[in-house]
Each structure stands twice: as C-alpha cells, then as structure tokens.
Amino acid sequence: MFVGSRTVARAGVSDNTADRVAGLVAAGERLKTRPASEIIGGLADTCAQWCDDDWPARYQATEALAERYRVPTSSIAEVLDGAFSGWTRQSLEDWVVAELGDLGALDGFVTNGSRSRRALGPELIVAVGAHGVPTTPITDVISAVLVKAPVWLKPASATDDLAARFAATLAENDPELGAAVVVDSWPEAPGGRESVLAAATTVIATGRAETVKRMRATVSPASNLIVHGPRLSAALITGEALAENSIRVIDALACDTAFAGQMGCLSPVTAFVEASRSDVASLVEPLLEACVSRWASPPRCEATAGEQAAFREWRSLMDVEASAGIANRWAGDLDRPWTVVARSEPEHPSPPPVPQFLTLAPIDDVDQSIGLCAERRGLIGTVGVAAPSKRRRDIARALSMAGVERIAALGSMQRPPLDWRRDGRPTLADLVRWVEWEGS
C-alpha cells in the first residue's frame, strides 16, 4: 500500500537538515560498495512493477495523476508506460555502456590497453525539478542511482508527487537504494535550501531561465552544475509526407504534441508544414480533435483566471491581426482544452501564449523553417521530421547546423533513447568523475 510521499521520503531521517544530508551521503557510500549490475537490477525491477497496471502503487498513482490533471486514466497510463517500459535491465546496462564504455567502470578500474580507469559518481547530487512531464524528474533519480550517487530531488513547487511515489516503491523493494533517494521540497528551516545545496557536489537544475539563473548564483563554483534550461520543440512536415498520408501525419503530430498535455519540452509548439496556406489551414480542426482525444483535460473555461486571461488576450490579438488583413485560422475556443492555429506566415517557434496550444506555420520550402530554427539557436531542442527517406539526411544535416539538438521521426519525439544527448550533452558521463590509473 502506498504511504504518503513526504512521510516515506522522510522515513528514518531526522528533520534536522544536516542529519538528513549526512544520512544521504552515508547511503551513497554504501551504494558505492554494491555492484552496478545489482543496482541496475533493483532499479529495473521497480520500473517493471510500475509497468503493471494492476500493481497497487501504479494504480493509485494513475488515479491520483488523472485526478490532478483532470484527464482519463488512459492518458496517464500512456505517460507512465512511455517512461517505465524503457527502463529495463538491458536498456539501463546499455545506457551505462553507451556513455561510460564499460559497466565495470562503475565498480572499479577497468583496463584498456596499458591504462585503467574508473568512474566515480558524486558524493551527493541535488536535482531541482521543473514543471513538466511527471516522469521526467524520475530520470534524474535513476541516473543518479545508476552512477551510485545519492540524490536529493527537489520537485517543482505545486507539482505532482510521482517522483516521491517512485522513490517510496524503490525503498520498499531495495531499502539501500531507497535510502539514497530523498524526494522533498527544501527544508523549511531558515537556510535549509542553502545548506542542502552547499552539501551537493553536483547540482542538476532544470527549469525556467529564472530558476537556472538563481541556481548559477547560489551553487558553489566548486560544485558541478548541470543546467537544463528552457527548450522548445518543433515539427517539420514535408509536402511529400503530407501528400502521401495526411491522416498518418496528423496522428503522429498529435501524438507528439498532446503527450502529457504538452507539458514537456519534447512536445512541439510549432509545426512547419511545407504546403499552401489553405492546405495548412485545413489541418487545424482534425489536429484539434486528435489532440483532444489524446489528452482530454477540461475545457479552457475551467482553467485558472491567469490562463483564461492570457487566452482572451491571444484571441483578441487574432482579431487585431484579422483587422490588419492577416488571415489566421484557428480552432479550440474556451469550450475546448486545446487550441490549434494555422498562421498565414511562418514564425519562429515561441513559447505558446497558453498551455495546450499548437501553431501550424506554412512554409514554401524546408530551408525556410531551418532558417527560423537557426534564429532561435540554443532554444530548439527536438525537431520531429516527417519526410521521405531520400530527404531525411539532408534535412537532419541542415537542422543540426541550425543548432537543433535532436532530430527524430515525427511520432516518436517523446521516445528518445536513454542515452540521448539532452541539451546536446551526455547524462551519465556528465555526472561521473574519471580516475586514471596508468601504472596497472
């Protein structure tokens, strides 16, 4: 049976921040004595349980998240399956090998020719989560434990508690692993946040530019600060792909967009479509319906006053543009949870005015969209491409030169491999410290 996350996260740990941190560090030291394969087994077994619909903890989490986000449980199940089914023993081992070269490097020196080297995880990782897909913070927990590091995960304020639930199940299955994970907000005592951060040898900061900046200012220069700042994703649909099977394209685009209610940075906010303005406009309604069918949250009229105000302002802007002769077509008013707009002219991928909002941008040719991405260099994470095979390589090459960090097939934007280079950087390799032994 699931126990309240904060209770579990604090179980066995004193309220005193210093004691809690010391307990975590000690748990990390114990972790470092265990074989990596055993740790991977513990993680994989827990993740396997999370793939089981009938397992009580998963069932309860699904219900709780469905209630929180006010969507059907099937939408939540898709999010959970999307993450947990990928964290298998084999995939976790492959991840370590892909980034560190050898699983054994986490257990001791491994020899390569005349040299030996080992990879040591940090003494303490503090991970600062952001609003987004509920499973994303769990990636930070898994990557920390994989490199035998204890982790204090501080979730975004007022976010869901999935990470805490995961930590609780990990502790039930393998108390030693569980002891190395705290999922909690900053200690309430004065200076609590600072003392936790001061103890960290590595800090992973995810979130808005402001959060990231604040972290840069707070974290000691001696600590390894890994920053995941704001990113936007886009889709690029060629004329051939649309002509060949528009229904499949719509389905794939909606699949990528609506996953987890577009909360994550892998969801496109703009789709460039190589087609006439009228052809692009004709996609608006089917895309709206496809998004609603995948993430059927309540209509926007039930959203917060802030979201409704932002939507009202955007809708009024559409009237201004119409008055200026700019012909946009949009669907999804206050009575729907999603909005899709086809612009008359292409524009840069930009933060949408409200959540659950997709912009379609007509382009004359692919180069136009690549140019727009290039003007947002450093901000564009993933681009999902629908193109005939003969054009894919050229498009990928051009997008890579435009600063895009990941190019995926449309429809699979939400399923990056574990060892993908998020923000253009490795994950595990960024966490470890290598020790060279040249006299072996």
Partner: protein, 385 residues
C-alpha cells in the same frame, strides 16, 4: 524663401483634433489629484479619444467592427470601448498619426525570445505629464529634489525603453545633479557596482536621502552584490521597485526584496514604493505607502496600486468579458487617456482584483509562465537574457 507644404485636409483635421484632446487631457493630468475628473468628464474625454482613434487608425476601426462597434456613437460609455490586446503593438504600426510625425517610440519586451512591440508617440507631453504627476504624488510628495540612483541603463544606452525614459523624466523633474544610471547598456550589460556602492557610501556619509529605482530583478542583483556589507541610508531615503510582480521573480523573491531592502539599505518598508506599469500604457500606478508615511501622518495606507484620475482599470471575467466587482479576480483592462495617440483601452493578461476603495491588487502570473515586462528588460540589461 520656402513655404511649408499645406497639410492634406484629413491630416490637418487630425492634428487639430489631437491638439484639442491633448490640451484637455493635459489639463486633467496637471489638475493632479486634488481636482478629480468627475465621471461624466472622464467618460466624455474617453469617448472623444476613442472616436479619434477609431477615425485615424484603420486597423482599430476594423477591429471595432469585429466587436460590433461600427461607429464611435455605438459606444455609450467608456466601459464599452473595445480594448486591444498588448500584442496589438506588435502588429503593423499601431498609431493614429503618420510616420513622419513620430516623436518617440518605446519597445515592449514580450515573452522570452518573443517579438517586441512598439508604442509610438507623436508627442511625449501627455506621457511626461502623467509621469511627473504620479511621481510627485507617490514618490516625491515631501522632497523637491533628491539624488536618484537608477538601476537601469542611461537613456543614451537604452533609448527605446519606456522605463528608462520614465527615469530620465524623474531625473529632470525631481533629481539632483548627481543623479545617475547604474546599469551598462547592451551588449555588455551588468551593474556598475563600484559606482553604485560609492554613491551609497556618499549618501551615508553626507546624510542626504536618495531614491533608488529599478526593476525588481535589478534590485535582486544589487542587493545580492551588497552581500554582507549593508548600508544605512539616511532617513527619508526611498526605493521604487517595478516589475517582478508579473512572473519575472517568484512571489517569495519579490517579498524577499522588500525585506532585503530594509536589511541591507536601511530603507523601511513604508518608504519602499512599488510601481506597476507597462510600455503599452502612458500611465503608471503606485502604492501609497510612502505618501501615507510622510504626508498623511503615517496612517494605514490603502491597499493596492492607486489609479490616477485620468485612467481607469476594469477587472473582467476573462471567460465572459463581464465586469467584476471588488474582490473578484479577473483580467485587467486599462483605460488611459494619456494613450491618446495609440490605444485608450488595453486588454492585458495580468490578473488582479479591485479593492472597494478603487485600488488594484495584482495577482502573480502562472508559475510556469515565462517572464514579461520590466524585469525581463532588466534581465537583458544585466546580461542574462
């Protein structure tokens, strides 16, 4: 001998109408707060300004038609004037006057990486008058001139910033000769800390009160830089913080700035004025804590930002557009007579409520929303955008 070309009749009519309206609005502004514009006078002036904008901004005319207003006479009262979104300032050239009459233009800061809008003026007379009237009432009710330390770039470094322009007007109207700007302009950005600390030291040693004014984020950085070397600014010193109430800083940080100002600069909470404004408006709103402390014998200040007599703020249900009464939270719609040349009615996505005595309380933006406004400009100036 040259002779000025005769104006086309329509432009001549526009200019004459603009001059007539400006004279009336200027009179209303310069009457200040003692001679409040009564409801019927405000209503007439607002509808006159609306009619002017309807006539001379064809895009706005079309917009009004979309909203069921096909002639100025269709609007029976100022509350019915169709408000345009702040984003309108990004669409084409949002102004009632021809390009060659443009006297000034200030850029807006949209969402991060967003397209800036432009607020254009054919004269700064109304804008400057509004700045001075409110500044006198809420920031300088007890001082003729004071040394002003602006945590912003200078007007030369940021000529398109409305906030910097406002500070320049402050310097002219209320500042002493040593008033200065302490942020470098783009592309370098960043605070000139040594100069700022030196100015603070001077104030401390000379016992002369100062005004420190800037965006919340700039204060955040300046106070952080002060670190463990707090100053005790002379009695009567004051701060004006703007931005930071709309998401650039978390609410806790915005509150923490107040405490830090008191702890590190020695400026008491009742001398810390908050300002709420935006580039798309010519009018600013202030809280009245300083005025209450120094003029009204330290009584309890009324809550919220005070709306000057030449402006109105309506709180609407963002879903239906219906006006909401005091205490109900909704979207803010501004009616600003000083916006004669652009848009008298501005719809924002800012959320707030009206107090029973006419104040405006802002509610923070959504936690995951991107920063907007003055603190975003400060981010750019600080070299962190």
């Amino acid at each position: 001998m040259t002779r000025a070309a005769a104006l086309p009749p329509r432009e001549k009519a526009r200019q004459e109408e603009a001059e007539r309206l400006d004279a009336e609005i200027l009179h209303a502004i310069s009457s200040g707060w003692s001679d409040l514009i009564d409801a019927s006078r405000f209503d007439r002036l607002a509808r006159d300004v609306f009619a002017h904008q309807f006539r001379f901004n064809p895009v706005y005319r079309q917009f009004c038609a979309l909203h069921g207003v096909s002639a100025p006479g269709d609007v029976a009262g100022w509350k019915q004037i169709p408000p345009v979104p702040t984003g309108a300032f990004k669409v084409g050239r949002w102004a009632t006057f021809p390009e060659q009459r443009e006297a000034a233009a200030f850029s807006t800061f949209g969402t991060i990486q967003g397209t800036p809008g432009v607020h254009r003026f054919d004269t700064l007379a109304l804008y400057n008058a509004a700045i001075i009237s409110s500044g006198r009432r809420f920031l300088f009710p007890d001082l003729d001139r004071v040394r002003c330390l602006f945590l912003s770039p200078s007007p030369a470094d940021a000529p398109d910033s409305s906030l910097v322009h406002m500070f320049a007007v402050f310097r002219e109207a209320f500042g002493d000769p040593r008033s200065s700007f302490f942020l470098r302009g783009p592309p370098l950005g960043g605070l000139r800390l040594e100069d700022l600390f030196s100015a603070l030291d001077d104030a401390e040693q000379e016992g002369e009160s100062v005004l420190i004014a800037g965006a919340a984020l700039a204060f955040h950085h300046a106070l952080g830089a002060l670190g463990s070397e707090p100053r005790r600014l002379p009695l009567g010193s004051r701060t004006m913080v703007t931005g930071g109430f709309k998401g650039a800083l978390r609410e806790t940080d915005a509150n923490a700035i107040g405490s830090a100002i008191e702890a590190q600069l020695g400026v008491s909470i009742d001398h810390q004025v908050e300002e709420y404004g935006m580039t798309e408006l010519s009018t600013q709103y202030y809280d009245e804590r300083l005025r209450t402390a120094v003029v009204d014998d330290g009584g309890r200040p009324r809550a919220g930002f005070r709306v000057p007599p030449w402006a109105r703020v309506m709180v609407i249900d963002p879903g239906t557009g219906a006006e909401l009464g005091p205490g109900a939270v909704g979207a803010l719609v501004h009616f600003d007579l000083a916006n004669r040349a652009s848009a008298i009615a501005i719809q924002t996505s800012d959320v707030g409520e009206r107090t029973a005595d006419g104040g405006i309380l802002l509610r923070g933006r959504e936690p995951e929303a991107e920063a907007r406004g003055c603190s975003l400009a400060a981010e750019l100036w600080l070299g962190q955008g």
